[in-house]
Symmetry: C2
């Protein structure tokens, strides 16, 4: 895990043969106070992911869930600690306290100026004399790193870091425990108040949704905040993915969090992310802090650390009005009885062919091609009966048919015919002739539908028909019919309804879309 | 999910009553080409997480794994598209192609200048006429957003976006399928070459570790890259968490990826993250792109989008030499026979009490206190026998004892005694008297060990003894003995070995640590 970071971030690592795992800033010149942290592995991106200008100077990692050795911490201090000294950030677990503590004492014995601050932010066990250090630690990394970058002297920095740590309140909840490498998977009930080493939680819970889960965690946290910070203080809030929450779950939890605390009370939200994980534990923790100005400033600054997700300042949602697509009649333009009769010949033919087309479709698709075309034809007839089609204005007519068929037919065919009519209308408006406009429409249908000539779709009748349209409707109808008949010989469909049907099942059957097109052109041509 | 984003990022959303889900940049003034994308929900942070200056102008979301409606896409275009026009980025799935396509045609019909680019980056199915659009789409969002921000005209932008899209190569692998809300959990075998809607993969696979998993995905990808980009082109690489990979898993996969491709061949790596997910699918995908200069430049720029993880430039790991803790004798200073006899009286007493202390410990801990102290005493005796302790130089002696006991005793007691001696030595070096220096040491033990007077630990004998030390060793021994005896009345331990033992089990038994301290002071006092 650390190897990936060592090769992808501007870090420098302890030589592999040294037996210790330390990642430090490659650009570190010991000109400010060094801020070091670390602990067992298994909490990634903590701690190495937070090494970078403005945050940690170095991180020391142990084995999974085991504190790094005294020698490792000491090696980290020796590497990073210059004249301004070093701050060691330690999570309150016995192993970490002792190993980091002894390393600090040894470093002092060597003349290094070292202060330690212990984070004990977990509120899960009400009467714990030694609350655990959990996700809040990451905020201290950011705060201390910011102060160090600003050049603060060690003692002032450490005193402020201690005060900051004393204000951190965190609580976690998980639906299931984590998978320890090499151990059988343990099935545990959902628990509230867990540490980050798979220890049992303070109590078993059974939230029925995200709202309840957030309430279970926030209720004691907000009560503790009231007691610790005073009434209704504005807050800094962090939502930490303990490892196994999906992006979607984290977003839903965030939404609940914002609603429950209220956006106006949140001065700063750390962008929800895995920050202090427990391997793949399916859970989250929330951390609170009072929104003191210098905390907000420190946590807002930009850093180079790879895993710091940044912050945001929640606000009420801003909305914009949607320009609704008008379902109302767009006002009918000029009408032309001959054109309406031609249209009606097509709709009549398609409605009459409903059963035939359904039967053809049963061989290659889901058997509803006939009813789909009939539904479209019926809707057009309805408009004609109401005199609601601008039958004398080609561009406008295409527009009206396009809008109508997208809704009335349903399925891909409806959308594709709608695209055909809309694009044809656009081309007519631009001054193109009917045949050229239709070719534009066909090009769009191919672009979006992905089918080409020979793919056993309605295009196999439509393309040849439109290509000869300048020679008249009779020629077009003949070409459409020939194209449709040809589809019966195509046994490998690459697009459309037949793409998933074996070739032998298709042989001898005309594609129902192509048949419908042939019927339509035949109906037009008899006029 | 979108509600969280709408309230935490500088976005503006379609009014809730509108029935469409659109998130757009709140600061958008329609002065450049708008870049819109979208698709079904369930791929978060795609697509709304990538809305922000330098990336998407707006995202349109459908229901889980279902394309947004034509009306929704059209509403997005109407909201964002100004005079410079709009680019619609569409993933190659039939529903998206048709709905986005029809919306684009309708928008054109309304006079908006709209171009569409379809992403089809999945190489899973070798002979697919319509490869699916998957994670590579996110890179196109970044590329097109960058070009738009630079003020490119729509047609040039769209042409370049199309070329970019044609170069994207992606492939995914998952250990298990995703959990569809409201559906029973499906158990599927690991699969290679899956889409992002839980479709079955191209083949079942059985990688035995992360290295094999990465090899399964990279081998066909690199072969395709060789064919498409030419031999050994430098690459842009993206590792996408399909949803359920933990931070640790992603780091291990990244490490394998860097090793297998070689850092020198990777011009740019998108920081591994969930980018185009399939809910909680436990898998990943890799995307490749040739490292053309303008691609590298575009993908490196800083953006405001909440979910863009940034990029890095992989390199060989840089290492530093660890200053090893010397196990060799640090050179022996002055010796004092009387002091060495006093030390030996203590070690003799502790070694003699091994069984007694083990028995006491069996009542409150794991029964090894005696053997732990005896091990320490034996190690000290060994040093004395070799004349290897600076017995006439108090500070240096503390140092030597501290270093020795941390290793020789093991367990918490060894580390705590080591902290005591190290800190006492530091205080002596600073010129403090023995009693004051010991009080400093005790303060450090309390700081790191977390125990206070009355917590039933060795401090209950040590603190009273050191407090009266100025009155002489006899007084100190008496105080230590009284303190140790008092621990037999403490039935609620708040720290140390007894903290997890019920009170009634402790009643009447002296704490073994306190007893050891009392024995040590008694041995000193008889001198």
């Amino acid at each position: 895990m650390l190897g990936a970071l060592a090769r992808s971030a501007p870090l420098i690592v302890a030589e592999p043969g040294s037996g210790v795992r330390i990642l430090a800033r490659a650009d570190w010149r010991s000109e400010q106070v060094a801020v070091l942290s670390g602990g067992g592995a298994g909490h990634e991106p903590s701690h190495a992911g937070f090494v970078g200008r403005g945050m940690l100077t170095a991180a020391v990692s142990g084995e999974v869930f085991a504190s790094p050795s005294v020698a490792a911490v000491l090696a980290g201090l020796r590497h990073c600690c210059g004249k301004p000294g070093a701050l060691l950030v330690v999570k309150n677990y016995t192993g970490d306290r002792l190993n980091f503590g002894l390393a600090a004492e040894q470093a002092r014995r060597e003349g290094l100026h070292v202060r330690t601050v212990i984070v004990a932010d977990d509120i899960a066990l009400a009467d714990a004399s030694q609350p655990r250090g959990i996700a809040g630690t990451v905020l201290l990394h950011k705060y201390a790193g910011h102060l160090a970058e600003r050049g603060l002297a060690l003692d002032e920095l450490a005193d402020r870091a201690e005060h900051f740590a004393s204000q951190l309140l965190s609580l976690g909840m998980a639906l299931s425990s984590c998978t320890l490498p090499g151990h059988p998977i343990e099935r545990r009930s959902p628990e509230l108040g867990l540490g980050i080493h798979n220890e049992p939680g303070a109590e078993q819970v059974a939230p029925k949704d995200a709202a309840e889960a957030v309430a279970l965690v926030l209720t004691p946290l907000l009560a503790a905040a009231e007691q610790r910070y005073g009434e209704q203080r504005r807050l800094i809030v962090m939502l930490n993915n303990l490892g196994g929450c999906s992006t979607q779950e984290l977003a839903v939890l965030t939404d609940e969090l914002l609603t429950r605390i209220g956006v106006e009370r949140i001065a700063l939200l750390v962008r929800p992310a895995p920050l202090m994980t427990s391997l793949d534990m399916h859970g989250f923790s929330i951390t609170l802090l009072p929104a003191e100005d210098d905390y907000v400033e420190a946590l807002s600054s930009v850093v180079d650390a790879a895993a710091w997700p940044g912050i945001c300042r929640p606000h009420a949602a801003q909305t914009f009005a949607v320009v609704a697509e008008s379902d109302a009649e767009p006002g009918v333009g000029q009408r032309n009885p001959a054109n309406e009769q031609a249209i009606q010949r097509i709709t009549t033919a398609l409605r009459a062919a409903e059963q035939q087309l359904d039967q053809l479709d049963a061989r290659s698709g889901d058997g509803d091609a006939g009813s789909t075309f009939a539904a479209g034809a019926k809707a057009v007839d309805g408009k004609l009966a109401k005199g609601a089609l601008s039958s004398a204005e080609p561009a406008r007519l295409n527009d009206e048919l396009g809008r109508l068929l997208a809704h009335a037919m349903g399925g891909s065919s409806g959308v594709l015919l709608s695209i055909l009519f809309m694009a044809t209308g656009t081309a007519l408006t631009a001054g193109k002739s009917w045949p050229d406009a239709l070719l534009d429409g066909i090009e769009r249908v191919q672009h979006y539908g992905g089918a080409k000539l020979g793919d056993r779709t309605m295009l196999d009748a439509l393309i040849p028909a439109v290509q000869v349209l300048p020679q008249g409707l009779a020629a077009a109808a003949t070409a459409a019919r020939a194209g449709a008949e040809h589809t019966a010989t195509i046994t490998r469909a690459r697009a459309g309804r037949s793409a998933y049907v074996p070739g032998h099942a298709l042989a001898g059957a005309v594609d129902p879309g192509a048949e419908a097109v042939a019927l339509a052109f035949a109906a037009l041509a008899v006029g």
